[in-house]
Amino acid sequence: MKPAISVENLAYAYPDGTHVLRGLDFNIAGGSFFIIIGPNGSGKTTLVKIIAGLIRPGQGRVDIMGEPLRAYSRRAIARRIAYVPQQTAMDFPFFVSDAVLFGRAPHLGAFGIESGEDRELARQAMAFTEVDHLAGRRIDQLSGGERQRVFIARAICQAPEIILLDEPTASLDIAHQLRVMDLMEKMKAEKGITVVMVSHDINLAAMYADALMLLQRGKLVAYGEPGDVLTYQTLEDTYGCRLLVDESPLGPMPRVTPVPGRYIL
């Protein structure tokens, strides 16, 4: 399958000259589950924001579905890529059904009026992420896990070809982490959506990802199938602590166990 996202020699620096990303080259296959891992400050969020079109890259080229990102209008990107940020503002809490319906925005006309069809799509999206029973609640009244599924429903309602998620499982308990990951798996399988996720959980990443990318200080350390990326040498060098990597009892995938109190300087 041709790549959904293709990145060539991508670099980005803050206005003060600090390099965030340097010389990245990689492809993300269409319809795959792609997970980006790496230590804090390795540039994961910046990379996702560049692909989402939120930040303009300093140098290099990003192609979305075979066309340069630059050539897309804002709304055209929004019709292909949905983005779920780390945090969402909730100072003026909307109802769940409205928040999900907002996903239709890039498909609407000048005054942003949703049709009955748009409402139906929102209803389906809520059913897909199993939040339809919460439709009449306000998003600030939900638990973290429910809220994350509402925002994923919002992204699905956008009817994208690619969905980008920035640490969607952070601060969720194990069961809710699994639910989010299974939801992504289902989205990939049933809707053929390409899923790109930033995660800190290496073990969850190993279980679900078709391909993994390990970033360190803005550079690509390793990229490929989980078994190839998650070796103890690579991970220890990147994270700077001792790690035990063996095979997961669940099947042929790596399992990473951190060893307490042993840091590598």
């Binding site: 939120l54 003026f92 928040a99």
Partner: protein, 334 residues
Amino acid sequence: MMLPAVVKRIFLVTGIMLVFLGGAMLLGVSMGSSGAGWVAIKESVSALNDPGSPLHSIIWKIRLPRVLLAALVGAVLSLGGLVFQALLRNPLAEPYILGISGGAAIGAIIGIMIGLTGLAGSWILAFAGGMTTLFIVLGIVSGATMMKKESLLLSGVMVNAFCSAVIMFLISLTMDARLHNIMFWLMGDLSSAGPREITWLAIAVLPCFLIVFRVSHAMNLLLMGRDMAHSMGVNVRLTTVGLLVLTSFMVSTTVAQVGLIAFVGLVVPHLLRLLLGPDHRELVPACIFGGAGYMVLCDLLARILPRHGEMPVGVITAMVGAPLFIYLLRRSSS
């Protein structure tokens, strides 16, 4: 044809608010210092059919222009509050509290002092003053502290205090006859404008209303965060800057005309948000017509409550608004 649910709600809300505004205006033109209550309304209705009576010309020449002006001013200030609250994601933001009204007032006073005649001159200076204070306030709280509610308000209060000092300073420098009414103007004077000023004000602000309504769904998306809005196709910078400039323009021209009226932009959007929820496609028309009606009623109270003459309308709006502001501040910090 089946109308989409949102459109139905927008029509319903607009209809109800228009009825409210119509009722308020009816009360506004039929009551005044000459009398209030049922008798006054009946007298006014009969005077309408009698072009010779003094009440007839009072209604057409004095009360109606004033009620129309109050409606325009109320719409501008309420919508101004709504826009600032959405853009700054701060339910306590309001043109007066942010110091924009104060800055516009300085500009307008300077315009009068240097002898600029006509609306355009004082409007441009008021607009410049309003924009300046807006950028000062946003500059003070830029970056990480931007979204901290209290720091934004505190900066606004300080800029406002400074503006008040500058206004008093300017007034004491001059004994200009044109500024004789200034104390009144400082708390809102709706009696000054004639049909010409009102027409120009309407021409200036009515297109702004349409533009704000046009981007009302973008305001919804902005409430979910800049990145989220951007990722859903909103041109965040253009929308934000455009709305800030547009709103400052509306508020500044209004201040140049009627002076400083506080807290309207706080009370009306807050009440309507309680009633209607946070969807700006409904809130924008509701604030325009509801705010207009609210101001007409406040002005009516300011005209009929004093035994002699009248009081500035800002007295009424502040007496309603300040307690609400304190209540909201307490609730948001808990």
